[in-house]
Subunit: 334 residues, 2 copies
């Protein structure tokens, strides 16, 4: 059947009895071709099992039909945390729906940066999506490559898509206030992440709107880990045994806090109302009781891909960023 080598457009054209150019036009879906010759070429394509040579195409068009997803994180975390899993899934699906390919790069540390810099050039990819949650790591300038950040980046002018962390946190705490709570504690996320900062800001917004004072004794720094949820809850109870609600900046910490609260004999949400942030982690741990702020990870991915496609096709348009709403998802006993 196949004689070893891949068929070329030349051979397709010859079999169809047309010129190379015409065959190319058919393959690329050009309008200016008669139905009859189109049919002939399409037949030849099927006959030979022709697949366009991407290298040759790229060389000519200066497009690669490839986009890159760079995650500034260790593979371990990427696979362990539901946030990344959901995000990669959403982006993967969205790219699949286009004619482009996706290549995924994880950058655990600086040592991988040089290789990546070589790859992040217009010769290799048409655009880049960057997930860099921590402030620390900065990617090599993509040499004029269209770039979309997932999660709010340091550069305020950059194009990005993010979840409304601040608004989501605000709504979470609003909800607690509506339930009549007045002594509302917070276990924060790491302050070197925008998501950590924004969620704390949302907490403050809600307090201010409710006319409640911001009390430092009610705020305990966390780092999104289970352990910091446990110790955070313990520290808060130590300082303020009178607290009647806790807002944890993510679900992992919320679940940790939940265990500690229970251990101390407190009923949730009877004695202490508890709200987390994420959705996916709560689902993974199947704790339907937890009220949480749900991040639309699928939309996040789809929007990132869409934004990037726009910037690739119209590089000179003004850069619009998108902030997706984060909905409150009530637990069973709320």
């Amino acid at each position: 059947m196949t004689d070893g080598r891949q068929p070329t457009l030349e051979e397709v054209a010859r079999l169809a009895g047309v010129g190379r150019g015409t065959a190319s036009r058919v393959v690329n879906g050009s309008e200016h071709v008669s139905p009859h010759t189109r049919e002939a070429v399409e037949h030849a394509v099927r006959e030979l099992g022709y697949v366009p040579n991407q290298a040759a195409r790229s060389l000519k068009t200066r497009r690669t039909d490839t986009v890159s997803l760079v995650i500034a994180e260790d593979e371990e975390r990427v696979f362990a945390e539901p946030f990344f899993a959901g995000l990669v899934r959403g982006i993967s699906r969205a790219v699949d729906a286009t004619s482009r390919r996706l290549v995924l790069s994880m950058v655990p540390d600086e040592s991988h940066l040089e290789r990546l810099g070589q790859f992040l050039t217009p010769q290799h990819v048409d655009g880049v999506m960057v997930v860099s949650l921590h402030d620390a790591l900065s990617l090599p300038q993509g040499a004029g490559l269209p770039i979309v950040y997932v999660g709010r980046p340091r550069d305020p002018l950059a194009c990005f898509v993010d979840v409304d962390n601040r608004g989501g946190a605000r709504r979470a705490v609003d909800h607690i206030v509506e339930r009549g709570r007045r002594t509302i504690a917070c276990i924060t996320g790491p302050q070197d992440m925008a998501s950590g900062r924004d969620r704390l800001d949302g907490y403050r917004d809600a307090l201010e709107a409710a006319g409640l004072p911001y009390d430092e004794d009610l705020v305990e720094p966390g780092d999104f880990s289970d352990a910091s949820g446990v110790s955070g809850a313990a520290a808060l109870l130590e300082r303020r045994p009178d607290l009647d609600a806790v807002f944890a900046a993510n679900d992992v910490m919320a679940l940790g806090a939940l265990r500690e609260l229970s251990r101390q004999g407190l009923d949730v949400p009877g004695d202490v109302a508890l709200v987390g942030f994420d959705g996916s982690a709560a689902a993974a741990a199947s704790t339907p009781a937890l009220t949480t702020v749900r991040q639309p990870l699928g939309d996040l991915g789809a929007t990132a891909v869409d934004l990037l496609a726009r910037r690739i096709e119209h590089p000179d348009d003004e850069r619009t960023s998108v902030i997706l709403p984060a909905e409150l998802q009530l637990g069973e006993s709320s």
Copy 2:
């Protein structure tokens, strides 16, 4: 600094005062070039920030310097199960250490097969690693593309790397026998996976070697899920309340069985010895008490990459497959 377009080899050559050919030789590390001109070219490369154009290179050399990892599984599972996470990590690291790039494709169902078939051609990749644990899904023939399976494939002639499931299971049950147990039950894996079948075979091997009878009442079919571990343990205890050991074909089921055994008031390993298979899942659940057969996921990935590299560079060599040993990892109370 950069004037928009990427520098070409032509420009490097001009700046270095040599011909294109010579510049190419330097970039590709050819021997036949004087130290002096090499220095000059290398300087020019740095000066201009030259990066070889992969498309042009591929077009000429008919190599892509890219290998593909195809996982015949849903993204959800790939990210959820520690087995895949560990495997992808191992392969990713191993490929990183080479000059090749890795592109990852997940194939949840047949509908993605056509796109994949277009991609799995010599024009796009130099070779393919396939993880297809279930017997069902079959990939399009890679058209003479070097291919290495991770996990034993149906085709006995194919090149593959696998963990010694049979031997590992054998050692697990040997261990139980050595501890003096005689009524050893088994919760199997799905029988449409080689790993499920092989581990059951290993169980039988050990029984036979110990002169113990194979008793169908002591064998309960499972599907690697937590639920089947729970129900499997329940069913076994119902039929054979006298059992004194359980070998579960993976850790997820072992943990499920552990819960059920405890629920029924049985002490593990006092009343019932319990051994699982996997390692990574046990670590994730942090149940150090569980004895388990550990799969060397890092080695598995590294070996797959190595095997594939060999087949790419020497396509005519005989195809060697590798079976990696699976070590028994004793729990704390064994």
